[in-house]
């Protein structure tokens, strides 16, 4: 949720991030194929892992190997994990820093030199923006052809995808009752599989808190939950197992596939369609 709240906040401030990126700060030019890439947030980790060679990557964030949060976790093992400290970045002497977004990073601001080559990606809230960030990253890490190939593969996978939602209403319901709203990747994902986002129906902002009572009253056809909350581990996840909402059919997907605008988007889309089909199959 923390990561998602961050992502949502970043979405709200997305414009600001872009502004910062285009500001005329003196930046060193990255070499054509950088060899010491440092990623400073989880979303950037995903793109770097998908597009750069393992040997090019000098540092990822500490959640990069968490299978619940990182879609490319398997590839991340063995690569140094940084704890968002300027010291570590300084020691690496990176020839490319990737952030999504890189603005507002305290660690970067703390660096004595501000002229490291920087790729500041905007937070993507649509599939098109995902493709853009893939293309930009691929170019920055020196493998533009991999970007094109990845985009083509994703387009292929999504093209054949059915729309089993049939206009039914779903809520993306997270720990502590946070609900993901319109203008987000989740919202686009729902539309892609034929679901209507409850948050949109209720006119809620990109991230809102919906009480169990309101959820019961709203009676969505599906709850989409993060697979990490499938078992009760704390009070935050406990509420998603409240008897009051136990009868609403559930679709469970790993947060890793949706938390970032990453190539895992297609996996999420495929999984949701498959789960809707299974729920419908059980019913008939």
């Amino acid at each position: 949720m923390r990561a998602r709240a961050l992502a949502a906040a970043a979405a709200l401030l997305g414009g600001a991030g872009l502004l910062w990126a285009t500001s005329p700060a003196p930046r060193a030019k990255a070499p054509a194929v950088p060899q010491r890439i440092v990623s400073i947030n989880l979303c950037a980790d995903q793109l770097v892992l998908a597009l750069a060679d393992r040997g090019q990557i000098a540092g990822l964030t500490k959640n990069a190997t968490d299978i619940e949060m990182s879609g490319e976790a398997a590839k991340a093992y063995g690569i140094p994990l940084l704890s968002n400290s300027a010291e570590q970045i300084l020691a690496i002497e990176p020839d490319l820093i990737v952030g999504m977004p890189a603005s507002r990073s305290a660690a970067l601001r703390a660096l004595p030199r501000q002229d490291y080559p920087l790729l500041d990606l905007a937070t993507a809230n649509t599939l098109g923006e995902i493709y853009t960030s893939i293309r930009e990253t691929a170019a920055a890490v020196g493998h533009p052809e991999r970007g094109s190939a990845l985009i083509a593969r994703m387009q292929g996978e999504l093209a054949g995808l059915p729309k089993p939602g049939k206009g039914r209403v779903a809520a993306y319901y997270q720990r502590r009752g946070y609900m993901t709203g319109t203008g987000t990747l989740i919202d686009e994902l729902m539309g892609r599989v034929g679901l209507v986002n409850l948050a949109g129906k209720l006119g809620k902002p990109p991230l809102s808190q919906l009480s169990l009572e309101e959820m019961v009253a709203a009676q969505p056809d599906f709850l989409i939950v993060e697979s990490a909350t499938d078992v009760v581990t704390d009070q935050g996840s406990e509420m998603l197992h409240h008897p009051a909402i136990k009868d609403i059919p559930r679709i469970s997907i790993p947060q890793a596939w949706t938390v970032c605008s990453s190539p895992a988007y297609t996996q999420a889309a495929r999984s949701i369609t498959a789960q809707i089909a299974r729920i419908d199959g059980d019913r008939s």
């Binding site: 923390r2 009480s211 009572e213 009253a217 935050g236």
Partner: protein, 333 residues
């Protein structure tokens, strides 16, 4: 004669009435506006599904917990004040609630609670018991009320630090948010599962605390006089320790550490009685039930983006009373 003292039965009747009103309010109001007619229909069994789920699965367990948790916190405050002869004594000021929260946190976040449902209240009770024992050792036989409160601050701070540490050590990435709920308390999103955890503990603990009326009265004259009046102090202390630990432990295990209820309620009730410790026990339990239910109603009605934590409301009510007592005591220090 005390000008405000009410006959015992009329005080209890008035408090019960207030509690009933609070409970009905708690069932009527919530995040979703449901008409009274729709709720009554749901209550009588021929309502729509949404209304009956909201009434029976959400509002009813929450109301029952508010009543029970409030009752045990009010009662524990009254009993501890009587035993320690200090109007500032109560579970949260003495660090007992926070220690129970630490026990609960340990049970939940290290997977101990999954072994058996009884582990959660058991560890919370254990935490509370340890803190009370530590408190009694730290404050010893000191007559100054300050010593006890300082010992309570030490125990409470230790428990809060322990809770933070436990959550930070646990594999949970959402520790910060969880810490807040445990330290400020909340009854949001509770179900009957929680009722079954808390209520038996509250009933057992409550019975053990109510048992002490006469011993607490005798303690008005000091420990020696109380024993010379036939009080078995050792048993009283044991009943009080275990009763408070079980009751507060069971309550905190589901609600987190809600502060000051045990301070506010006896303070308000005492002037309405003959001021003897036994006279405030039962009224403080009923008053605590009413207060916490009303406070919980408040957090639902006060329009905020995120629901207020219960401990925020009770702290705003409780701290002025705490300060009032401090000012009064200051001349003795």
């Amino acid at each position: 004669m005390n000008r405000f003292a009410l006959p015992r039965w009329s005080l209890i009747a008035a408090l019960l009435l207030l509690t009933l009103v609070a409970a009905i309010g708690s069932l009527l109001f919530g995040a979703v506006d449901l008409s009274v007619a729709r709720l009554i229909a749901a209550a009588t069994g021929d309502g729509d599904g949404v209304a009956s789920v909201i009434l029976f699965d959400l509002r009813l367990p929450r109301t029952i917990l508010a009543l029970g948790v409030g009752a045990i916190l009010g009662l524990a405050g009254a009993a501890l004040q009587g035993y320690l002869r200090n109007p500032l004594a109560e579970p949260s000021v003495l660090g007992t609630s926070n220690a129970a929260a630490l026990g609960g946190v340990a049970a939940l976040y290290f997977g101990i609670a999954e072994l058996h449902p009884v582990m959660l209240p058991l560890l919370a009770t254990g935490g509370a018991l340890l803190s009370l024992a530590l408190l009694f050792i730290l404050s010893g036989k000191a007559e100054s009320p300050l010593t006890l409160i300082l010992a309570g601050i030490a125990v409470g701070t230790l428990a809060v630090a322990g809770t933070s540490l436990a959550l930070n050590l646990s594999p949970n990435p959402f520790a910060a948010m969880e810490i807040m709920t445990w330290l400020l308390g909340s009854l949001e999103n509770r179900s009957f599962d929680h009722v079954w955890i808390a209520l038996p503990c509250i009933a057992i603990g409550g019975a053990m605390l109510l048992w002490n009326g006469r011993a607490l009265d005798a303690l008005t004259l000091g420990e020696d006089a109380a024993q010379a009046l036939g009080t078995d102090l050792r048993r009283t202390r044991l009943r009080l320790l275990i009763g408070t630990a079980i009751g507060v432990g069971g309550a905190v295990a589901v609600s987190g550490a809600i502060g000051f209820v045990g301070l506010i309620v006896p303070h308000l009730i005492r002037p309405l009685t003959d001021r003897s410790p036994s006279a405030i026990l039962l009224p403080s339990a009923i008053g605590g039930a009413a207060l916490l239910t009303l406070a919980d109603l408040g957090v639902r009605i006060i329009p905020t983006t995120n629901e207020l934590k219960l401990g925020v409301v009770t702290a705003f009510l409780g701290v002025p009373i705490f300060l009032l007592h401090l000012m009064r005591e200051r001349r003795i220090w």
